[in-house]
Every structure is written in structure tokens, then in C-alpha cells.
Point group: C2
């Protein structure tokens, strides 16, 4: 038997595996004195350290908690420009609509993306990807949505793919041409929707740039009919679908997501019981986005209600320059616990196994043989420390496809 | 003229200096192309780079924002043990009083502190101090309060002083013997209060271990009369005073803090207009603690109301294992903006100049000649980026008394 490439040993291994409907505590039962070995970028062994194969490189985890690399199921990581000053004005009470009407908001970022060189666009996106990874994330869903032309949406998707090609992060992409109607198409809303549903999707599919299609279905964004047109077209072309649903108003997006068999419906501040029941029945994940509800000063969704109605929950950063400037996924999980009432165990699954389901990635978010060789080691023996703390230091060890991509000197646990 | 020890040049320098009652924007007017030079641990020059003195070491900031080292005005950094499991139970809905009655809560940490060796106590405290510093903090207020005997409260204060002696952080200490009545003194509450007011304060003063005295004045903690007895005694011995006020109930603590000329009254979820007016008149700072209000799922204080009544505001981590496990001061400021309505400019002063006033430290929190040579460089040219983002990477450069104590490779800004 050949030696494995890497073995992390003497860890408390939390696989996050097992049936989706097993209780969180069962999915988080540790393998004490465990090891995970990786060959050719894939997990080859998970079990007691004594049974682990020999490996070219062995890292002693010193009894720390070992998780699958974290999965961020909702990001707008690819953008250019900055909106710090706009946020300062909004936080001081200035009206968002007035700022948007004066060319701020999404429009400002669209302008910056169109003006940025491909290299500048990638450089900023890569910096965010690295920051996300430093806290343990190895797989991220990345949306377009700040280009709003076929040309610029494809540039954003290529930027996302390049993160993966250069080994920064595993990336799954969503075409979000229906993020907003671009300024130059305000008089031609129906035409823009048709363009997204036809030539934009076609071009993204032809170049293999999109894994899924997303629509911002909400008051002030796109209607249920428009979303159905676009997501239906995407599905017919073989893309997975997801939607921003109920951030401000319940337009029946949860029901639509269920009808279409979407991977996820995201935000869900405003959603009916019927919508949640439909999602539960169809296996559509709810993706909660605490950065947005905190920044927009909204009432958070209620995890107890989702639990009671059988909806499975993931948590994302929603990393974007307007409403959730964050690259700290464990912090988002910690806020979801405090604000929405997820248990700390649910929150841990919400950024691992459940997040992978929401992202539509089959081989991440779990430590099991054959899955991606992605690991996040914590500075603590209890993985719930990740959602206990509000913010925290970088993960001491992050492994991506069997490569050590982040490593810090081991330090005593903070808590 | 001898060369300075260190000069950080080509920075946007935000001094946070100027009169306390100047508008925040004026205190945050940048020196473009600025430099700060340090000799013998003190700031020797602040101004245009062209006028800076020669220096043994010069660091080019590449146009990034340079701030005074951040100041955390409220921490319980010195403790031992961990309460992750207890937090998980509380977050899942278990009653805190039931947990406390079964030996959890503050009691659990008191037990752990009494059982920990001096070295173990220091090691965990130092790990937290380093994590705090990685985000730019160079001065922290550190309380005792988990010992609750003369012997153990002094051990905690010595641990805090050792952080400073070993060059980890500048520390100012508060004796918080009146954090809780210890389990073994439940039948002798009055006796315990007297002990704090006499032998505990005397011992801390005799050994030079306390800069200030603090009392947890609230429902379920100490009464206004008890606080007045203890803080009055501390003042008579030459200590500064501060208090935990109105976290759960308004017991007149703000008025007491004003009467005593306290440095700060902290928490203030429940406080009357009269209490705030008294604080404003007496120059008592309000210290807001977002980690606690989020973890306890409370309604945050209202910054607009404090502003209208003339109260000056600082923000702290409240770093503690029960209600605010956080070592991320910029995150706390970002939450204070979102939750309490501080402007992003106010929030920046709330963790620099205003925090230093609240901490009772005259020579920190501002970049001016003669002040401590403490600097925090950001990865952005706009210092408001610090309260714009929810969580973030380590500061690229932190200088403590003229020594570079944290340094990261410069990376592109995230936003």
C-alpha cells in the first residue's frame, strides 16, 4: 500500500457525516484520538489514529478538533471598488434609496466592476478568498451579479473560476444576472429579463462558467414571474437553481424554490409557514445570512420555526460590499446562534455538511472516504468553540485538496 | 539630533487627537502622506513625512490608514477554565439560573481560577491578549472578579500586570471583588462587602496592583448602597472608580457613577435620562458592550439618545467566558454601529481616544507627541473600514511602545 500524502493525526475528528436527518449531536460525535489521511487530493482514511496509513507528511493535531473544511454557501465575493463612505452615510441615517438614486448602492459596484481590469478584479476577489480561507473555509459559492451585461457577468464568473484554478478555494458558481436591472436598461426591464433567460444563460453554459443560476426575488428586485422565467430557463439548460427569497417581502419565492427543486432559498426574513413547509417537503435548504440582517437592522428569521416545520438550515457570509462586508463564516454562525436561535451544534453543521448541500457540492462538508481532502483544524478540542466566540483568530491549519494552505504556530486555546 | 527608533511613513495618519468636544470628523481629519516617529517608546513626531526625523527603522505604509493602537476599555481577560458546553446549553434554551444553581456560570470560572496554577492562568490570559493585539489593540483595561477572595483577586491582578511587564499589552487594572458574592459567603453577604471595601482594597493598593475599582451594580449582583460603600472606600484610597451599570435593571448606578466622578459606567441597557444627564455633566464615559447584548439577546442601548443627552461613548469587548467570548474589538465597534446606532466615525473614536478616557489612560488612544508609541496600521486607506467590516483579518502592523509586535505581509484591501 502506498503512503498517503498527508495525515493529520491525534485529533478529535468531527466528521459531520451520517444521514441528513440524524440528530446534530450524532453527526458531531467525535472520533477520539482520530486521524484523517489524504491521497491525490481526496480523503482516503478517517478513523482511529492507530489504523491510519503511513503518510509522507504527518501533522500532530495535539488533541484539537478537526473538521471538514468549512463551506460558505452564499457569497458575492467577486466585485471591485469600495463603498465604505456610502456605508458610513447609511449608518448615520441617510436614506439608502436616496444614495442609490444618486448612483450609489449596487450601481456603484457595477460601475467599478465594468471599469476594473480583469487583473484588478481578480486581485481584490483573491484577497477576500484568502481571508475567508484563513478562518477555515475551503469551498465557497460565488455569485456574479455586479456586471449586468453578458460580457461583465461572464467576467465575474471567470474570476470566480480562477480562484479555484489557482488553488485558492474550491468554488461553485451562480449566475446572478438578475441581481438588479442595470441603469442603462431601466426602460427595458422585460427585455433585460429575457436577455438573462436566454443569451446570458446560454453564454455562461456554453463556456461552462455557471454551476447554478440565482435570482434576487424581492420587492424592488425581481418578481416571482420574472424569477420563474429565468430559473426555469436555467433549469432547462441543466443548471441548478437557487434564489434570494423574502429578504424584505414575501412574494412566494419559497414556494417557487420548492416547485423548481432549488438547492436553497436564501435570506428568508419574510416567509410564510406554507412557504417553509414547501421548502421542507422539497428538500430546499434555507440559507441564513446574519451579516445582512445585522447591517440592515432587521428582525432575524426564527430558527425554532424552521426546525418545527422541518426546514434544514445553512449559514453564509453573504460577503458583499453593500449589506454584509464579512469574510468571517464562523462569526456568521455565531451570530445565527445568538440572533436566530440556531443551537451551536446546528450552527456547526450549517457551515459544513448542510452548507455543502445548499451549495450543491456533494463531496465537501463531510469527512468521509472519497470526499475532498479539505480540513479545518481548530485551536480548541470542542468544535462548538467556533460558534461560541464572536470573531476569532485564524484557524491554525487549513488543508485544501491535501495541500496545507494555512498554518499558524499552535497556541493555547483562548477559551 | 539623534535618529528615532522607528518611523512609519507614507501613511494616512488619523490622530484621533484634538479637543474631546470637537466633532468626530475633525478628530479624524487625516494627515495625508504623514509619518509617526517613535523614540524610547514614546511618540516624538506626528506630521508630514517630509518633516519626519531620521529613524533606525523606517516602514513604508503604502498609503494605508495609521491609527493610534486601539484601546479596549472593558475586559475580563484574566480567567481560567472554559464554558463552551454551558453556552451551548444556554443557546439551546436552558435556563441560566438553573445552570448557575448547578454550579455553572461565574461560579464555574471562580472554581477554575482558584484551581489553576499561576502559570496556567497566565498562559490562557496571554493567549487572549495576543489575539486582542492581533486586531490592533495595544492597551486594555483588565478586571479581576473571578477570584472572590483576597488571595485570588490579587492573583488575577498580578496576572494582568504580568501581561504589561512581559510586553504583551499595556494594561490598566480594575479590582472587581464585587463581581459576585462567592458561593462560600452566601450567608455572609454584608461581611463579604465589608471585606472587599477594606482588606481586599487595602491589599491591592498596598501591592500597587489596582489602578481602579469596579462593582457589578445590578439586579442579582450588588445594590447601589453596597456599590457606594465599596467605590467610596476605593476612592478614599486613591483608586479611580467605574461600575457595571444597568445591564438588567436601573438601580441608579449612572447617578452614583456621576456622584463619584467615575471614569465610566458600562453596559447601560437600562438607564434613565436623568442618569445619562448626570453622567454627561460629570464627564463619565458610557462603555457599550455589544458582545454581551448580542449573547444575552437584549435590546441594545440607543446611541442617538446618549448623543442627544451629551454622553460620550466608548466600546469594549467585555471579553469574558460567560456573556461575551470575544477578542475582536473592531468587530465590537462594527456591532455598536449596527445595533446601537453609533456613527462609524464615533465608533472609531470609541475604540481609540474615547476608550482611553474611559480606561483612565492619559497617554494612549491619540497620536500626539509624548504619547505612548503605540500604532495600529490598517489594510485600507479609510479607517472606517474597521467598523464597516464584520470581523476581519489581523492588522498588518501593530507597534507597542515603539516595538513592532505584529506584522503581516501587506495584502490588497478586502473592500
Amino acid at each position: 500500500m502506498t503512503a498517503a500524502d498527508l495525515c493529520v493525526t491525534n485529533a478529535r475528528v468531527f466528521t459531520c457525516a451520517g444521514p441528513d436527518d440524524a440528530p446534530p449531536a450524532a453527526r458531531l460525535a467525535p472520533i477520539e484520538g482520530g486521524a484523517v489521511a489524504i491521497s491525490d487530493g481526496r480523503i482516503r482514511f478517517v478513523g482511529p489514529a492507530a489504523d491510519a496509513p503511513a503518510a509522507a507528511r504527518v501533522i500532530d493535531a495535539g488533541g484539537r478538533a478537526l473538521l471538514p473544511g468549512l463551506v460558505d454557501p452564499h457569497t458575492h465575493l467577486a466585485f471591485a471598488g469600495q463603498r465604505v463612505d456610502e456605508m458610513a452615510r447609511r449608518m448615520a441615517g441617510e436614506d439608502y434609496r436616496a444614495i442609490a438614486a444618486a448612483g450609489g448602492g449596487i450601481k456603484a459596484t457595477v460601475r467599478a466592476v465594468r471599469e476594473a481590469s480583469d487583473e484588478a478584479l481578480f486581485e481584490g476577489t483573491a484577497a477576500r478568498a484568502r481571508a475567508l480561507r484563513a478562518r477555515g473555509v475551503t469551498t465557497a459559492e460565488v455569485k456574479s451579479g455586479y456586471g449586468l451585461t453578458v460580457h461583465d457577468e461572464l467576467r465575474l464568473l471567470r474570476t470566480a473560476r480562477r480562484l479555484d484554478a489557482e488553488g485558492l478555494l474550491h468554488v461553485t458558481t451562480s449566475l446572478l444576472g438578475a441581481h438588479a436591472v442595470p441603469a442603462e436598461r431601466q426602460g427595458d426591464r422585460a427585455g433585460y429579463v429575457e436577455e438573462v433567460a436566454t443569451s446570458m444563460i446560454d453564454a455562461a453554459v456554453a463556456e461552462g462558467l455557471a454551476d447554478a443560476c440565482d435570482v434576487y426575488l424581492d420587492d424592488g428586485a425581481f418578481t416571482r414571474d420574472e424569477a420563474a422565467r429565468i430559473l426555469g430557463a436555467a433549469k432547462a439548460k441543466g443548471l441548478a437553481v437557487r434564489a434570494h427569497v423574502g429578504q424584505f417581502a414575501d412574494l412566494g419565492g419559497a414556494e417557487l424554490a420548492a416547485e423548481l427543486g432549488a438547492l436553497s432559498a436564501d435570506h428568508l426574513e419574510e416567509v410564510s409557514d406554507a412557504g417553509l413547509r414547501a421548502m421542507a417537503a422539497a428538500g430546499v435548504r434555507a440559507v441564513l445570512l446574519p451579516g445582512a440582517w445585522r447591517t440592515l437592522r432587521q428582525t432575524p428569521p426564527d430558527a425554532a420555526r424552521m426546525r418545527a416545520l422541518g426546514v434544514r438550515v445553512a449559514v453564509g457570509t453573504d460577503c458583499n460590499p453593500g449589506t454584509s462586508p464579512s469574510v468571517d463564516l464562523p462569526l456568521m454562525a455565531a451570530l445565527a446562534v445568538r440572533d436566530a436561535g440556531l443551537t451551536m451544534e446546528e450552527a456547526l453543521l450549517a457551515i459544513t455538511a448542510e452548507a455543502a448541500r445548499a451549495a450543491g457540492v456533494r463531496d465537501a462538508g463531510r469527512l468521509e472516504v472519497g470526499a475532498r481532502g479539505d480540513l479545518a483544524l481548530l485551536d480548541h478540542d470542542d468544535p462548538r468553540s467556533l460558534t461560541y466566540a464572536l470573531g476569532g483568530p485564524p484557524a491554525p491549519l487549513v488543508v485544501l485538496a491535501g495541500r496545507v494552505v494555512e498554518q499558524q504556530a499552535f497556541a493555547p486555546p483562548l477559551w
